[in-house]
Structure formats: structure tokens, C-alpha cells
């Protein structure tokens, strides 16, 4: 196993899949000559040439639709969103075209396409550049929504997404690109729809995904010293949701905290909470708690931004609360 950054793991997945299948191509702003705004596609132009690594004008709606059209003919486009904030301009093609093509056509057309790029906040990028939209895409039947938290999953899930016959919304994180970790070489496929238990525990379950996995594990470590043994579940796929893994864990711990980066109202955590209260009602010993972004647009000032974001302290506090330890 090689140690790679999340960025290089994605690059390796792109490289391997483009080598394996000539129908796979990458299209987006600055993906080719500039090697990607965040350098995820570094070197691909050199290897695969301008027909398979395609720079586009700034026209999210146009090039996303071109990708969806190409996928209807059987090609496997990977459309890079420089960030998911800009995808709001292309969302009609993702939701009204890609997600519905198979159904509207009575099963005649599929859209084997991946929409990928960084989502959520980085550092001080302000209100328009710091948004997490996973709950929006997960609301839509016909889409799959995948969010790797580690380099290994970044590679394994991107390879699976590229091979998937349905449109996959693949959300990365600018703050994750430099994260290092062990990554299996070559054929490493992480299944879509399967959560990963990152830490076994018996007292409380923390469900998290993407950027909240690291703080959740930190919180678990801190709580260990307080005698609270947390199980940490990384969803990895938001839609379809791996309810079975979550429910099995709650059946054991009887306590649940859900941490996410985005806003709370009708967020991913709301869905998870609803599933668990319905399916595991009797095994819950305390109300489910959630940790999410402050319900405000992201401020630029760095201290205000820190206050707005989900972090280790907030997750630990929520766990103490579900364990009724917040008094002591």
C-alpha cells in the first residue's frame, strides 16, 4: 500500500479508469492545461490528450448538459465542477435531465456520468463559496451521492462511481485534498452504498461523513478519557443510505449523534435521525443530537467562520449530551 494524498488518490483513480476504459473522459474548467484548479487532474492531459481531458469555457449549464448528452450515447463522462457552489447553474441538467432520463425514457437511456468536485467550506471563502449541498442531491431519486473522507475511499469510490451506470454526484473537499493515507494499489473498488465503521464503540454512535469524520474520530478519542466509548460510522455514500449499518450500531449503543458540515434544516442528519427514530425507536435511550453548520451564510472573518463550523468540541458536547454527561 502506498501513502497518498486524497488528491493523488483521486488522480490515480482517474488515471486507472481512463486507461482501463476508452469511453471515460474528463471535462470541466481548467482540468487540462492548468491541471485542475485544485490539481486533481495533474498530468492527465499529457497522458490522455485534449480529446479525453477537455477544458471548457465558464458555462456550467452548457458543459454539464453536453456531458449528460454524451453519456446517453454510452460514453462515461466525468464532469468536474470547480466547486459545487457553481453547480447551482448546472443543477437543471443534473436534476431534470440526468436523474430522470432512465425513467422518462422507460428504461431506454441511462446516464453513466460522474459529477465531481469539492463541496462545502474551505477557509474564509465567504458566503457564496462555502456551501454543502449533499442533502439537496440526496433528495432526488435517480441520483447517487458519494462523499469519501479518506484517500483510500477517494480512490475506491471514484473508481466505482465511474463504472456505475447511473449518474453519481461525487463530492470531495478542498480541505481534504492534502490529507494523507494508505491507498491500495491498482484495482481497489469501494462499493457505493456501504458505510464504514471507522471506530468500534459501545456507548454512543457518531454518524458522520466527509470532513466531519476526522473531528468525529478526534472527539471519540477525547471522550475515551472520559469513559465514553464511541462508535464512529463514516457514511461514505449519502444516497443510497446504508441504514442497516447505522441501525445495527444504534441497537448496540442506544445513543446517536449525527455530525455534518452543512446546514441543519432538512439536512442529511435530519434524514438519518428520521430513519433511526422510526426503525430503532425502542432502542434509543436518549434523543438523537445533531451537529451542523450554524444556520447562517458563511462569514468571511476567520473567527466567525470557526464559530459557524462543525468541530470536535461541538461533536464531543453532543455525545456527552446523549450520554447525559453534560451535567458533570
Amino acid at each position: 500500500m502506498a501513502t497518498l494524498t486524497y488528491r493523488d488518490a483521486l488522480n490515480e483513480a482517474l488515471r486507472e479508469e481512463m486507461t482501463r476504459d476508452g469511453d471515460v473522459f474528463l471535462m470541466g474548467e481548467e482540468v487540462a492545461e492548468y491541471n485542475g484548479a485544485y490539481k486533481v487532474s495533474r498530468g492527465l492531459l499529457e497522458t490522455f490528450g485534449p480529446m479525453r481531458v477537455v477544458d471548457t469555457p465558464i458555462a456550467e449549464l452548457g458543459f454539464t448538459g453536453i456531458g449528460v448528452g454524451a453519456s446517453m450515447t454510452g460514453l462515461r463522462p466525468i464532469i468536474e465542477m470547480m466547486t459545487w457552489n457553481f453547480a447551482l447553474l448546472a443543477i437543471d441538467q443534473i436534476v431534470n435531465a440526468a436523474a430522470k432520463m432512465r425513467y422518462m425514457s422507460g428504461g431506454q437511456f441511462s446516464c453513466p456520468i460522474v459529477f465531481r468536485g469539492p463541496g462545502g467550506a474551505a477557509l474564509q471563502l465567504g458566503a457564496q463559496h462555502s456551501q454543502a449541498f449533499e442533502s439537496w442531491y440526496a433528495h432526488i431519486p435517480g441520483l447517487k451521492v458519494v462523499m469519501p473522507a479518506t484517500p483510500a475511499d477517494a480512490k475506491g469510490l471514484l473508481k466505482s462511481a465511474i463504472r456505475d451506470d447511473d449518474p453519481v454526484v461525487f463530492i470531495e473537499g478542498e480541505m481534504l485534498y492534502n490529507l494523507k493515507g494508505e491507498v491500495p494499489e491498482g484495482e481497489h473498488l469501494t462499493p457505493i452504498g456501504v458505510a464504514d465503521i471507522k471506530r468500534q464503540g459501545s456507548d454512543a454512535t457518531i454518524v458522520c461523513h466527509s470532513k466531519t469524520v476526522a473531528p468525529a474520530l478526534k472527539a471519540a478519542k477525547a471522550l475515551e478519557e472520559e469513559g465514553i466509548d464511541c462508535e464512529v460510522i463514516d457514511l461514505r455514500t449519502i444516497r443510497p443510505l446504508d441504514s442497516a449499518t447505522i441501525l445495527a450500531s444504534v441497537a448496540k449503543t442506544n445513543r446517536l449523534v449525527i455530525a455534518e458540515e452543512g446546514w441543519g434544516f432538512a439536512g442529511v442528519g435530519a434524514e438519518v435521525a428520521d430513519v433511526v427514530q422510526r426503525e430503532a425507536f425502542d432502542s434509543l435511550d436518549a434523543p438523537i443530537r445533531r451537529v451542523h453548520q450554524a444556520d447562517v451564510p458563511m462569514p468571511y472573518n476567520k473567527y466567525l467562520e470557526r464559530l459557524a463550523k462543525t468541530d470536535t468540541t461541538k461533536i464531543a458536547a453532543a455525545v456527552r449530551a446523549v450520554c447525559y454527561r453534560d451535567q458533570d
Binding site: 458555462a59 452548457g62 458543459f63 448538459g65 448528452g69 435531465a97 425514457s105 422507460g106 437511456f109 456505475d164
Partner: protein, 338 residues
């Protein structure tokens, strides 16, 4: 008529197609009339946008294509589906929402699809099909074939963002796509001059480094001629073309819109009816001695029979099985992961 007489001479090359085109146009006309009736008595639901008056656009342009080329349109696509060779049965059954419909009864009037014939739909969001159409052209280029993509949209769609983004990319990359503005003068109740800063939409092609032509959409030969050249350019790798094809819809925007009264007068509609695309072609064929009243009567009877058969087929076809609600959302598991 004078105008078309002159055209007739120079378009002699298309004479061998005239009989076929006349039947296609007549079939579309009668099919749509019958669909309108079925809608009025509730056998067809949802939105239903008829093509009556615009027949020459679909027939003339699609006839210029090969079977492996691609066709995509908006929600007013019954005529294009028929011109592409989809059966009256499969389309009428779809309008009826039956399991035997081209989209299994799940798509409806606005979402006709036929993968085998490369009929890529039937799309309901104005302008949504424009980038998709360029995507098929991108795929042809990617695969190194000489297929072309024929992309239909209304003149009102030429004011929406996807038009601009897609035509710029297509012009920049010289994609083999033909953009056809079906200019029937209105977007719902809004006349073109109330929606576009300039009404000569062909001139917009200059913004995208592609030729733009204004075409007489009531003359099937003129439509075919313009499309032939656009297809030639596309296949030769010379890039896209924008065709602004002038036509007119005799009926309301959809079944819930009156043909005239609110935004146009009966006189205006009647005036356009006087230059009917079917009659223009029929007259040209009569002059060339290719058509007489008997032949026309036969044709009408033949077409009437096909439409009647389609209706009977649709009526007798089964509704989709209730389980169909849950299928076609995602690939069957076997299909997943390659």
C-alpha cells in the same frame, strides 16, 4: 404559389422524395388532429403540444439524416418522432400512457424516446435539450464517427442561457451539430418581437463563429436543402450551423390554449393557413404531374387507416403493471458497476 413554382424547378433533385414526404406530412397532420380529439375526451392527459402547421420542418430536416445520426427535440415533438420513423402505434400508445408506448407510458407526450432510432427525446424544460444535442455531437467526434446531431428548439428558447453556452462551445469546438430554431413566431402567448431584442435570430450565429440561415419552413424542399448543406458541413468537420426555420403553429400552444383570441387574431392564423406546407408540396407535385385527386384521396385513406390503427392499438393496450412505478429509477443491480 408563384414563389413555390420557381422553387420547384431548382429543387428537382428532391422530386423522388416528394411522395414519401407528402405522406409523412399528412400522417403528422392527421395524427395530431386525432391526438387533439383524444385529449379533448380525456384519453390523453397532461400537457399536449401539437405540431399542426409545422410539418415541413420535421420532415424536410430529418429526411436529410442517416439512421445513425441523432435527433433531439423539446415537448412539441410528435411530428419529429413520426418523421424519424417511430411508429404511430408506439407514439399514440405513449400519449395514452400505455405499457406499449415508446416510453412505456412513463414519459407521455413531452417525453417520447426511441433508442434504436436515436430519437433522444422529448424534453420539457425550455432549452434543456440544446446542450444534450451538442453532447451527441461531442460523442460522435469523440468516437471518430461522422455522425451528426440534429437539435430542435423553439424561437423563444433562443433567449435562454443554455442556447448561448451551447452554441459558443459548439462553435469553439466545431461540433457536428445542427441547431434548428423552429420559429413559429410565438413562445406560448409571447410574440418573438416581445421576447428577443433582435427578431432576425439567424444573425446570432455570428456570435458563435457559425453560419446562420433563415429558411422558409413551409416549403419542405427549402428545409431539406438548407439541412443538406448543414449536414454536409457537420460531417466534413466544418462545424455547426444555426438554421432559423420560419413556420407557424395553427393550433394553441398546448391543448389548454385557444388557437387565437388572446395574443393573435383569427385573421392572422387564417392568413398563415393559406400557405400550408402540405398544400405547397401537393401543388408542386401536381404541377410536376406526380399527384392527382385520386392519389390524394388514396393517401388520405391510407393515412387515416394508420392513425385509426394506432388509436385502436393504444386503446386496447394494457396499462403499465403497477410494479413499473419502481423500475427504471436506477440501473438493474446486474447492470451496476459495469
Amino acid at each position: 404559389m408563384g414563389a413555390s413554382t420557381q422553387r420547384a424547378t431548382q429543387v428537382a433533385p428532391y422530386q423522388q422524395h416528394h411522395a414519401d414526404w407528402l405522406r409523412q406530412m399528412l400522417l403528422i397532420r392527421r395524427f395530431e388532429e386525432r391526438a387533439g380529439e383524444a385529449y379533448s375526451v380525456g384519453q390523453i392527459g397532461g400537457f399536449c403540444h401539437l405540431y399542426i402547421g409545422q410539418e415541413a420542418v420535421a420532415v424536410g430536416s430529418i429526411s436529410a439524416l442517416r439512421d445513425d445520426d441523432y435527433v433531439i427535440s423539446a415537448y412539441r415533438e410528435h411530428g419529429q418522432a413520426l418523421a424519424r420513423g417511430m411508429t404511430s402505434r408506439s407514439i399514440m400508445a405513449e400519449l395514452y400512457g400505455k405499457a406499449t408506448g415508446c416510453s412505456g407510458g412513463k414519459g407521455g407526450s413531452m417525453h417520447l424516446f426511441d433508442a434504436e432510432r436515436h430519437f433522444m427525446g422529448g424534453h420539457g424544460i425550455v432549452g434543456g435539450q440544446i446542450p444534450l444535442g451538442a453532447g451527441f455531437a461531442f460523442a460522435a467526434r469523440y468516437r471518430g464517427t461522422d455522425q451528426v446531431s440534429l437539435c430542435f428548439f423553439g424561437e423563444a428558447a433562443a433567449n435562454i442561457g443554455s442556447f448561448h453556452e451551447t452554441l459558443n462551445i459548439a462553435g469553439l469546438w466545431k461540433l457536428p451539430v445542427i441547431f434548428v430554431i423552429e420559429n413559429n413566431g410565438y413562445g406560448m402567448g409571447t410574440a418573438v418581437n416581445r421576447a428577443a431584442a433582435i427578431t432576425d435570430l439567424a444573425t446570432r450565429a455570428a456570435s458563435y463563429d457559425m453560419p446562420g440561415l433563415t429558411v422558409d419552413g413551409q416549403d419542405v424542399d427549402a428545409v431539406r436543402e438548407a439541412t443538406d448543406e448543414a449536414v454536409r458541413r457537420a460531417r466534413a468537420g466544418e462545424g455547426p450551423t444555426l438554421l432559423d426555420i420560419m413556420t407557424y403553429r395553427y393550433v394553441g400552444h398546448s391543448m389548454s390554449d385557444a388557437p387565437h383570441g388572446t395574443y393573435r387574431t383569427k385573421d392572422e392564423v387564417d392568413e398563415h393557413r393559406h400557405r400550408d406546407p402540405i398544400e405547397v408540396l401537393a401543388a408542386r407535385m401536381r404541377e410536376a404531374g406526380m399527384l392527382d385527386d385520386d392519389r390524394m384521396a388514396e393517401l388520405e385513406a391510407d393515412v387515416a387507416a394508420e392513425v385509426a390503427d394506432a388509436v385502436q392499438f393504444a386503446e386496447e393496450s394494457p396499462e403499465p403493471d403497477p410494479d413499473q412505478l419502481w423500475t427504471d429509477v436506477l440501473a438493474p443491480i446486474t447492470g451496476g458497476g459495469n
